[in-house]
């Protein structure tokens, strides 16, 4: 079955190709670098953010100059939001973009306490192709530590700014970045008793926002495929709640499998070849996989309890899920074939929405205890539980691709007299610090963070 394509989609793949083809490393122009000072350990507590100067990229024409300012703005916002960098006030900068092309006066940048310095250029050829170069300097050590060049169409600058942000993040933290990513989520509008829910997608920083469905059909729980080109989600199309596939390139929607009841709680396998989900028949929910190539359905759990919210380990060998087979909602792991089921949570209250970190080391979850909801993480063997944030209602964590940052949604209690409830997206560092609202045009829930865009 196929529903209507409601929106056409933009040319992300095209941009991607241009970026991928021509990225190249810029030589540092120095001898082998000495040990760099520009490093930050993000695994311990709440690190002091690194002061960094992000200068406007120098353009070779007025349009390129504007692009150069925009790039600096995007990089600055990305790094600031991470909580690991403190972009310095541009009014204090000691060199202009053009003078930086001649040479960096490290001693002057040290005077304003800059530890990192980002410079760049934007040059355009008559056919509109735009070459963007950037360099990251370790001011303390007085040397370039990384540099890259990209050639894109003029409107590809934003994505290059995210790729540069990731390169800076990686060079300084030693971890992969997460800025060249997107978020799919459920946009909510209307009064609480007639809530309209739409699939929506945006860049990780809220830009390039667009709605993927029109709100006539209730949709829930979208999740990205590893390729980032497809989304699996729950749709109430024709009042038959079923798991669907949405192709972002074509706008095509397709029901997944031929199941005799409600299917829900879908997620892709790490190789993208399967979707794991729950099927409810006669009131009982068990976990199944659907092979997207053969369309073969395989039942993994067979228990009268509720088994749902399955999530694969990144190597595909195990699955974490929630079940109330022990009396209340708790987390369990099992092998990918359904064998060797082990309970991993034993704390007070209820545990749900487990999602395995892309690094494999942790499982994030929602916990309900007393009259509060929590977002937390636990090791796959059930040790090391840590709660990161709490509220009247927080739910549904999703991992940034580097496994260092989580996004979730938070709802305020509705007031007396029918005051509308508010739902918003938030991100938080794995350390429990740097909780921030993720701005969306409307109320928002059920976020899913994409992998890095290929």
């Amino acid at each position: 079955m196929q529903a209507n394509a409601l929106f056409s989609t933009g040319g992300w793949r095209v941009v991607g190709r241009f970026v991928a083809v021509v990225a190249m490393v810029l030589a540092a122009g120095f001898a082998a670098p000495a040990r760099a000072e520009l490093e930050i350990d993000i695994t311990s507590g709440n690190p002091q953010p690194i002061p960094i100067a992000i200068t406007n990229f120098a353009g070779d024409n007025p349009n390129a100059t504007q692009i150069g300012q925009n790039i600096a703005g995007v990089i600055s916002a990305n790094l600031e939001r991470s909580g690991l960098f403190r972009p310095l006030e541009p009014a204090k900068f000691v060199q202009t973009p053009d003078s930086l092309k001649v040479g960096v006066r490290f001693a002057d940048w040290r005077l304003i306490q800059a530890q990192g310095l980002v410079t760049g250029t934007v040059s355009q050829s008559p056919d509109g192709r735009t070459r963007i170069e950037f360099r990251l300097f370790d001011v303390t050590a007085g040397q370039q530590v990384t540099g890259l060049a990209y050639t894109v169409q003029a409107d590809g600058w934003r994505r290059v700014a995210h790729i540069i942000s990731d390169a800076i993040y990686k060079r300084v933290t030693g971890e992969e970045g997460y800025f060249d990513t997107r978020i799919v989520y459920i946009a909510e509008s209307g009064p609480a008793l007639q809530r309209v829910k739409r699939l929506a997608i945006m860049d990780q920083d809220g830009e390039n926002h667009r709605f993927l469905t029109d709100g006539r059909t209730l949709v829930l729980t979208p999740r990205f495929s590893p390729s980032t080109q497809e989304i699996t989600y729950l749709s109430y199309f024709n009042n038959r709640p079923r798991v669907y596939l949405f192709n972002i390139d074509t706008g095509r929607q397709e029901v997944l499998g031929d199941f005799p009841g409600m299917t829900f709680a879908p997620r892709f396998s790490p190789d993208g070849n399967k979707v794991i989900m729950s099927l409810a028949t006669s009131g009982n929910s068990d976990i199944y996989t659907l092979d997207l190539r053969t369309r073969r359905q395989t039942q993994l759990t067979n228990h009268p309890g509720i088994d749902t919210s399955p999530s694969f380990a990144p190597d595909g060998s195990k699955v974490v899920f929630e079940s109330d087979r022990g009396g209340t909602q708790q987390l369990y792991t099992m092998n990918a074939d359904g064998s060797d089921v082990k309970r991993i949570t034993f704390g007070q209250g209820r545990y749900g929405t487990p999602v395995w970190s892309p690094r494999g080391d942790l499982i994030a979850f929602t916990r309900l205890a007393g009259d509060k909801f929590y977002i937390g993480v636990i090791r796959p063997d059930g040790t090391g539980e840590r709660l990161l944030t709490e509220a009247y209602h927080v739910e549904g964590p999703t991992w940034a691709p580097n496994g260092r940052v989580l996004m979730f949604f938070k709802e305020r209690p509705s007031g007396q007299g029918g005051k509308q409830r508010q739902a918003k997206l938030y991100s938080i560092d794995l350390t429990g610090f740097n909780e921030r609202q993720v701005l969306t045009p409307t109320d928002a829930s059920d976020p899913a963070w994409s992998p890095l865009i290929p």
Partner: protein, 165 residues
């Protein structure tokens, strides 16, 4: 409890009788005969066999405890009346909606709503309503009846609703 469900018109008509002899109308619908409204014509009462008749004179919903899907005695009393009504109007088909309150996670509540809808379905079919006439759908916490972050609202939102198709 079923008097809460009376429409405003019916409440107005019955206002004086209500406190003294509530059993009269109860017998009319649960006595097994066709629920012909009491002889004195009530010009604007629900048409027998209609969805409005079902909601007003039978009661279209039952309520559940927190994270529960078993039927309370109050719920089975309502479902007994539903079963009788459905056995009277044999052409009617129904969809049972299962709902949850907001104090749970989304996917678990979808599963819980499915359980609740099936609790209602199983009871009705055990009472002789043909299974082929009964569909179920779970809305989890997506379709609250009452807005409010308090026990009074949650109690009304944990429900199974029998909808006449």
């Amino acid at each position: 409890m079923r008097f809460k469900m009376l429409s405003l018109v019916a409440v107005a008509v019955l206002a004086t009788a209500c406190s003294s002899k509530p059993e009269q109308t109860a017998q009319a619908t649960t006595g097994g005969t066709v629920a012909a409204p009491a002889a004195p014509a009530k010009p604007s009462g629900p048409v027998p066999g209609s969805a409005e008749d079902f909601i007003v004179n039978v009661g279209d919903r039952v309520f559940f405890g927190f994270d529960k899907f078993d039927l309370t005695p109050e719920a089975t009393a309502t479902l007994d009346r539903q079963a009788n009504w459905l056995k009277t109007y044999k052409s009617v088909t129904i969809t049972i909606e299962g709902h949850a309150d907001e104090r749970g996670t989304r996917e678990y509540n979808l599963a819980l709503g499915e359980r609740r809808a099936n609790s209602v379905k199983n009871y009705l079919t055990a009472m002789g309503v043909e299974a082929a006439r009964v569909q179920t759908i779970s809305y989890g916490k997506e379709r609250p009846q009452v807005v409010g972050s308090n026990e009074a609202a949650w109690t009304q939102n944990r429900r199974g609703v029998t909808v006449i198709n």
